[in-house]
């Protein structure tokens, strides 16, 4: 018997939107609406595994061209230079802003990779009902939710530089398809992490570490 009762064991359900505690039976799943805010109540988010996997895979498929294709073209005096995400980071580092290069590297490369690895790990381990490091895995999920949208950084940088660098023949910046793929990657990973239900982490067998 566990020290902390879970809502499902007590026949209760918490509203995700407003936090209201409601009573329910097994038959109610997906048909009950929160009396306070009107949102549909789910014991667990519907089809969390399928939706999260689908979005994560779609995001990964977008992430490949986002990294291979250049995101930005700089043209000055007939000199054309195409930048990928990685070469943009290297340029910042070499040209004397290592601090900022690290920030951009984290936002554009570490955060998306972390999201893929973290959500993948969470999906697989929760599916198996693993009791390994449950608290840490929940914290990992919170981290993914918290930092996920900072990956948009590079997209905004390209947008801003494109709007600013308009000196015709002397200097011009253009966005290239890579930036569109990257933007889509970020949006899809954000949707993926929203579809995952962290309560699934705790749904397997209870273990002594609990």
């Amino acid at each position: 018997m566990s020290a902390w009762p879970r809502a499902a064991e007590l026949g209760l359900i918490g509203c995700h939107v407003c936090g209201q505690v409601c009573g329910m039976t097994d038959a109610d799943d997906g048909t009950l609406a929160c009396p306070r805010c009107g949102s549909t109540l789910h014991r667990r988010k519907p089809a969390a595994y399928a939706r999260c996997w689908a979005l994560l895979i779609a995001a990964f498929l977008m992430y490949i061209p986002a990294n291979i294709l250049p995101i930005m073209r700089t043209a000055s005096l007939g000199d054309i230079d195409d930048n990928t995400i990685l070469s943009g980071v290297v340029e910042l580092w070499v040209k004397g802003s290592p601090g900022l290069a690290v920030i951009v590297f984290c936002a554009s490369i570490v955060v998306p990779m972390l999201k893929f690895l973290a959500l993948g790990t969470l999906l697989i381990s929760s599916r198996r009902g693993s009791s390994w490091a449950r608290r840490q895995r929940t914290q990992l999920y919170r981290l993914v939710e918290l930092i996920g949208y900072w990956s948009m950084l590079d997209v905004f940088v390209v947008a801003l530089l494109t709007a600013l660098v308009r000196f015709g023949y002397f200097s011009l910046v253009e966005p290239l398809p890579g930036v569109v793929f990257f933007g889509l990657t970020v949006v899809l990973t954000m949707f993926a992490s929203m579809c995952f239900d962290p309560r699934l982490i705790w749904d397997g067998k209870e273990d002594s570490d609990d």
Binding site: L12, C18, I103, Q139, Y149, L153, V157, W202
Partner: protein, 214 residues
């Protein structure tokens, strides 16, 4: 489990005395919080609820400031670049417009939504709710607005844009004369306000306000 379900299930006021962790589904008994305190889930460490140190009046004043600052950040140019005596500046709308005309409509739409539409909606909705919450009342449309605010969640990205502007300035500085314009300061102020609001637990408005008797 030999835990009997609390009689709370049917009683609405007793249901208020329970909290369910949205990250691990653990049921907690609610304790009154002092100002600035927060309740954490014993099992997974999630924040269950947070008692803001700021009253509705203060929050309303901050929201009005945010609206003002947001208008300035959006309307004023952010930076000016100079090259051979030529000068180019850009506002947020120039940024969105150039992306639209430069074959990156997806980016233009993303930027327009996350940097303009959603933040503006958030500010107006919060302002409206707080206007009534000052006297413990629920604004017309309270339910819809609270649900929409919840759904908007992470889709406002002004703070990411500020960092993006910083990176752009550093990159542009290598080749051009860069002059920061008032817009960037307005954005910095906006970022500060966003940080303050990030610590406010809005779901408490459900408990702190009463439906008006018809």
């Amino acid at each position: 489990m030999d835990l009997s379900p609390p009689d709370a299930t049917t009683d609405a006021t007793a249901a208020q005395s329970l909290l369910i962790c949205e990250h691990c589904d653990t049921v907690h008994r609610r304790c009154p919080l002092a100002k600035g305190e927060l309740a954490e889930c014993a099992r997974c460490g999630a924040v269950l609820e947070r008692c803001r140190g700021l009253g509705a009046n203060t929050l309303l004043a901050l929201i009005l400031t945010a609206l003002l600052v947001f208008a300035q950040a959006t309307l004023w140019p952010i930076v000016t670049l100079g090259l051979n005596g030529q000068h180019v500046d850009a506002t947020l709308w120039d940024v969105i417009h150039t992306m639209w005309t430069d074959h990156s409509q997806v980016v233009a739409v993303l930027a327009a939504l996350t940097l303009f539409v959603f933040p503006l909606c958030k500010i107006f909705m919060l302002g409206w709710l707080l206007l009534y919450a000052r006297s413990g009342r629920r604004a017309p449309g309270f339910r819809l607005l609270m649900v929409t605010l919840h759904r908007l969640g992470p889709w406002t990205m002004s703070e990411v844009f500020v960092l993006g502007a910083l990176v752009s300035i550093v990159k542009a500085h290598l080749y051009f004369d860069v002059q920061p314009d008032p817009g960037i300061y307005a954005y910095a102020a906006l970022m500060l306000l966003i940080t303050i609001f990030a610590g406010v637990d809005l779901t408490r408005l459900w408990d702190e306000t009463r439906e008006e008797s018809p």
